[in-house]
Symmetry: C2
Subunit: 317 residues, 2 copies
């Protein structure tokens, strides 16, 4: 297959390219480097089966030759309001990548009679009132909050994808991606995993906001990409959650990372900081992925964290 | 003021043009006639203060000269799956009008340093779990249902409007419009008011789906336009509900219409027909409109229905 990946310079886009190439496919990667990094796919330059096009998905997309699949993974994705590439600081680019980008990539899939995959997100569930979240849950999103730029863009993108499927018969599918960690994640994304590893490597205190009993479910990137690849190859058209259902408290995360690195100054508890719409808890129900894809995460937290810590060490050099 | 109205050939857009012209403003009207009708503004042709541009808001908008306000009212708006102009049958145009149209009109407002108003809708509340709906309610919308094309497009449009307000300082405001009736409404929109009037005028039975105890809140168009005009002239930036909070059962509606026309074959009750996401009940909380705009509906149901029935009679000739 010849597969177009938008956002190929991103954390997930670049791993996806690696996996597709490893499976013998050809990859055309697009990125405009708003939040992606060229280093993430530098190792692919020179590979005959990989082509890179620098392009903003919000503008009309022309790809020479036939494509068999289109995977729309381009979007700022960090909720960190302190990061310059956090979507609170790129609100309009984020909404354009979600709406115009999805419109353009769906058009390309339609013209090529290609399989289409939308990278959606657990953020479409917002601050959920059901745990864990099944794909049938409608979500709980404030349409006008600062955070909503990402959530509403992705909800719009899902609705548009389903409209193209129903109306134009596009062979589409939607993956709802939950929190993921691993090499090439943004080391400064402001979220727990990155913060703890950074602090531990620098011998600082690991800062926990609140009592640390809030939970997260983190999936190691290789597991996630495996689920995405299986979903691409499936005949599924409806949304499928891909993520790790294992819940772990933020405090436990800090303890694990501390133990693996072994040189921090311990844990410290600060006053809780939340910004509007930040969910207290989010956890995938992966029954559909298990049933439809025979997929579930395989990699232990310890193994995943070890590989991630190695990446952070190399990245800081 | 020189005011751009998109969707000027629509039910609300055309009434808005009338009101603005009556107040001494200049109006530039846009429409592509996907769901609007030229008859709705035919009486304005020849008016020096009115200009019409045939244009699809999903494409880049150029308006010669300065505009002081931009009112984005263009969208298919009927939920009727049996109508060719119902948004279930125009899913992609509906999503484009909401996303690309809002992007284009916000860009125009930004370039002109103009007041911007987004015509949003009670549909953003979806199938609400709170009654009546306050502006602070986040809504309950299925992102992937057939009906979601309209709901999610409007939620996206709200989020984008707020992003332009926060990020670019656009002087924007959002009106959430509830069910409205009156002259120039679609006579075949498949909803209760239109159906009952059509049936009563033709001496048929008035068909009620279910037991008729489901309620609706209908606002007469002149009341609605008055609220919208006051909101345009206000300094408000956050969403404001405009609608009639008076709840009335579908059965009571049928009885009122029957009494005013007086030649039907009575009421008949059929098996309830709902399509996915069709709300059982929706009613605006208009506390904010009362407080901020000193607005509330003035026109009685009887007066409103009488004018509407006259329109249906004229329209059928």
């Amino acid at each position: 297959m010849r597969v177009l990946i938008t956002g190929v310079a991103g954390f997930l886009g670049s791993h996806l390219a690696d996996r597709l190439l490893a499976e013998g496919h050809e990859v055309v990667g697009l990125d405009n480097f708003v939040s992606g990094k060229a280093e993430n796919f530098a190792h692919l330059i020179g590979n005959d089966k990989f082509t890179f096009i620098r392009h903003d998905v919000s503008n009309y997309i022309h790809v020479p030759g036939k494509v068999d699949a289109v995977m729309h993974f381009a979007s700022p994705a960090s909720p960190n309001p302190k990061s310059p590439i956090g979507y609170p600081n790129l609100p309009i680019q984020t909404m354009k990548a979600g709406a115009l980008g999805t419109h353009n990539t769906l058009g390309l899939a339609l013209a090529n009679n290609a399989r289409f995959m939308l990278a959606s997100t657990s953020e479409i569930y917002g601050d959920p009132q059901e745990h864990p979240q099944k794909e049938s849950y409608w979500g709980h999103v404030d349409p006008i909050s600062e955070r909503s730029v990402y959530d509403e863009a992705k909800r719009f993108a899902e609705a548009l994808t389903m409209a193209y499927h129903r109306f134009h018969g596009v062979n589409s599918v939607i993956v709802r991606i939950f929190n993921t960690y691993g090499p090439r994640m943004h080391t400064d994304d402001g979220r727990a995993v990155a913060n703890f590893i950074q602090q531990a490597l620098e011998g600082e205190e690991l800062t926990i906001y609140g009592d640390g009993q809030q939970t997260r479910s983190f999936c190691y990137v290789d597991d996630l990409i495996d689920g995405i690849y299986k979903l691409l190859m499936s005949k599924e058209h409806y949304p499928v959650n891909i993520g790790n259902p294992e819940e772990i408290t933020i405090e436990q995360f800090a303890i694990e990372i501390d133990a693996l690195i072994g040189k921090s100054a311990g844990l410290t508890y600060l006053k809780e900081m939340r910004f509007s719409g930040d969910p207290q808890r989010r956890q995938p129900d992966i029954s559909r992925a298990k049933e439809v894809l025979k997929w579930e995460p395989q990699i232990s937290l310890k193994d995943g964290l070890t590989k991630t810590i190695d990446y952070f060490k190399a990245d800081s050099k």
